[in-house]
């Protein structure tokens, strides 16, 4: 327990404290209290605006896409077919991969003369030379697509458990009433999955704010801060530029987002009955 206090509780209070001082790593000046100066400076930093915008965009798009596609995959692997567990394992495999490795492989695939452009070319009949990771308009979408691919199997597994928890009698009753597959999905599957869907969505939204590995490996936050994220910026400001106060301010803002989402998730969960 002492360890928990030492490595979580105290550092967290320290982060709040540090965010109010001008602490540097090595500095000739003594550390002094500067009030909210770090916060105003961070909020005026264009890099932080980029980072925050990207995190919010990621949190709005990626979890929703993953949950939708994950539900599709869950329905597919929920069929009683020989060999279905092999497909389940294949769809899940990227989740257990090391994110750094996935990011490096995708960097190569996203090269201008790489596999992804060639693949798009085959399916559209044209020749594509998109410079994914060096184009400010494409770099962050590329990271989002990669992230959806990498973690959709996680959503699939959670949603599959939700699917299997719906009593079979409900579907039988639906069939007796003459409901077709679509109506069964709309009136039985979706309502029965509501808690699982909300849970999956919020868990992914919370982790959206700690996005770090993908931009660190694939773009370094560039081009022109197009792939900057709060955690990447925190490392750059705190570690590379050694401005501890401002980095701590980012940490506190990051935590406020995570806490707010967690509280909303809890409230929604309570309203809807019990939740995982």
């Amino acid at each position: 327990m002492a360890v928990l206090i030492a490595f979580l509780a105290i550092p967290f209070l320290a982060a709040i404290g540090l965010s109010l001082t001008n602490q540097r790593f090595v500095s000739p000046l003594p550390t002094r209290f500067v009030g909210l100066e770090n916060y105003t400076r961070i909020l005026e930093d264009p890099r932080f605006i980029h980072a925050l915008t990207n995190n919010v965009v990621f949190a709005l798009i990626v979890p929703a896409a993953q949950t939708t596609l994950g539900l599709g995959l869950a329905l597919m692997v929920n069929q009683r077919l020989p060999g279905i567990s092999i497909f389940r394992a294949i769809y899940f495999a990227p989740v257990v991969m090391v994110l750094t490795v996935v990011a490096v492989v995708w960097r190569l695939m996203l090269a201008q003369s790489g596999l992804i452009n060639a693949g798009i070319g085959v399916f559209s009949g044209g020749s594509f030379q998109l410079n994914w990771l060096h184009d400010p308009h494409l770099a962050f979408p590329a990271i989002m697509i990669m992230s959806i691919w990498q973690n959709v199997g996680f959503q699939m597994i959670l949603l599959l458990a939700g699917l299997q928890a719906i009593p079979a009698e409900l579907y039988e009753a639906g069939r007796v009433d003459g409901a077709n597959a679509f109506r069964q999905f709309w009136h039985i599957t979706l309502p029965g999955m509501r808690n699982t869907l909300v849970f999956v969505l919020t868990v992914s939204m919370i982790s959206s704010f700690s996005l770090f590995d993908q931009p660190y490996v694939m773009t370094g936050g560039g081009p022109l801060d197009a792939t900057q994220t709060m955690m990447l910026l925190m490392v750059q400001v705190g570690f590379d530029e050694e401005r501890i106060g401002e980095a701590s301010a980012i940490a506190v803002i990051f935590f406020i987002f995570v806490l707010a989402l967690a509280l909303i998730a809890q409230r929604v969960g309570r309203q809807r009955g019990e939740m995982g």
């Binding site: 206090i5 490595f7 540090l18 990626v62 490096v104 003369s113 925190m234 490392v235 967690a262």
Partner: protein, 281 residues
């Protein structure tokens, strides 16, 4: 001519499998691409990556030999093995002991401690990373194994996981053990632990994945190859020009292989464990 319903069933099966297989291709292609590229000379990797040759090794080159023998990748790989092994072993031990104490060893302030553990679960590691970095620089143990092990041993998530597993065990079990003269330690080791194997597996699998693949903290606390883990090593090699894609892909395969093999063997336990967490996004 086949009768109608039977023919419909067969058509349905073909459609199902066609869909399953084409989606499987989306997930397998990058992995296959990585594996094939790891066997090619550096220049061929990029040059052939926009054609079907991407999936066929033409000229072969032993990038694995180059990566493991002639670079410091072996050292970095061993670093990761030691760091990950330590966190998995110590973390599982400490967190299961804490969970056991909270569930079955009455002590003063127990409820308060439990509430504290639950509250700490919400604090993400990233939020405390900067003060921790400052602290570890202060006591001068950056760029060591220790700095990569210590912060990850105690975890509120795992303590709570063990706590809830232990709590589900029947009370009579421990009363019987007490009557037989077993102390706290004996009933923890020989009665409680063997009954919560799924929790032990979950703890081991999740902390293995988290530490083996962790990049964020090592980026800040490692400087040299004496302590650098595989993730930082790989991202550094991938950042150097000219990019040695063959070697990089060989390292990527070497990093992924242990996980994929364990995953294929213990697939149900793996999937169950990850489903019980909000591991990563």
């Amino acid at each position: 001519m086949m009768p109608g319903p039977r023919r419909d069933r067969i058509v349905g099966l073909i459609v199902s499998y066609a869909l399953l297989i084409s989606v499987a291709a989306v997930f397998l292609v990058p992995l296959l691409f990585m594996l094939v590229a790891s066997l090619k000379p550096d220049l061929d990797v990029l040059a052939e990556s926009n054609s079907l040759k991407a999936f066929w090794p033409g000229r072969l080159e032993n990038n694995y030999f180059e990566a493991f023998i002639t670079s410091d990748f072996t050292r970095i790989f061993l670093n990761s093995v030691i760091i990950t092994g330590s966190v998995v072993a110590l973390g599982t031990l400490i967190n299961s002991m804490a969970g056991y104490a909270l569930a079955w060893v009455p002590f003063k302030g127990q409820r308060l401690v439990l509430a504290f553990v639950v509250a700490m679960y919400i604090v993400p590691f990233q939020a405390v990373a900067i003060p921790l970095l400052l602290f570890f620089s202060g006591v001068q143990i950056v760029d060591t194994y220790l700095v990569q092990i210590i912060p990850f041993i105690a975890s509120p998530f795992f303590i709570y996981l063990f706590y809830s597993f232990f709590l589900d065990l029947p009370k009579e079990l421990f009363e019987a053990a007490r009557i037989d003269g077993a102390g706290i330690v004996r009933s923890y080791v020989s009665i409680a632990l063997p009954l919560i194997k799924p929790a032990l597996a979950t703890s081991a699998i999740l902390s293995f994945l988290l530490i083996w693949g962790g990049l964020f903290w090592p980026v800040m606390v490692t400087r040299t190859e004496a302590s650098r883990p595989i993730t930082v090593g790989l991202s550094q090699v991938a950042g150097m020009l000219p990019t040695q894609w063959g070697d990089i892909m060989a390292m990527s395969v070497a990093i992924s292989a242990p996980i994929l093999i364990v995953f294929l063997i213990f697939q149900p336990a793996f999937i169950r464990s990850i489903a019980s967490s909000g591991l990563k996004g």
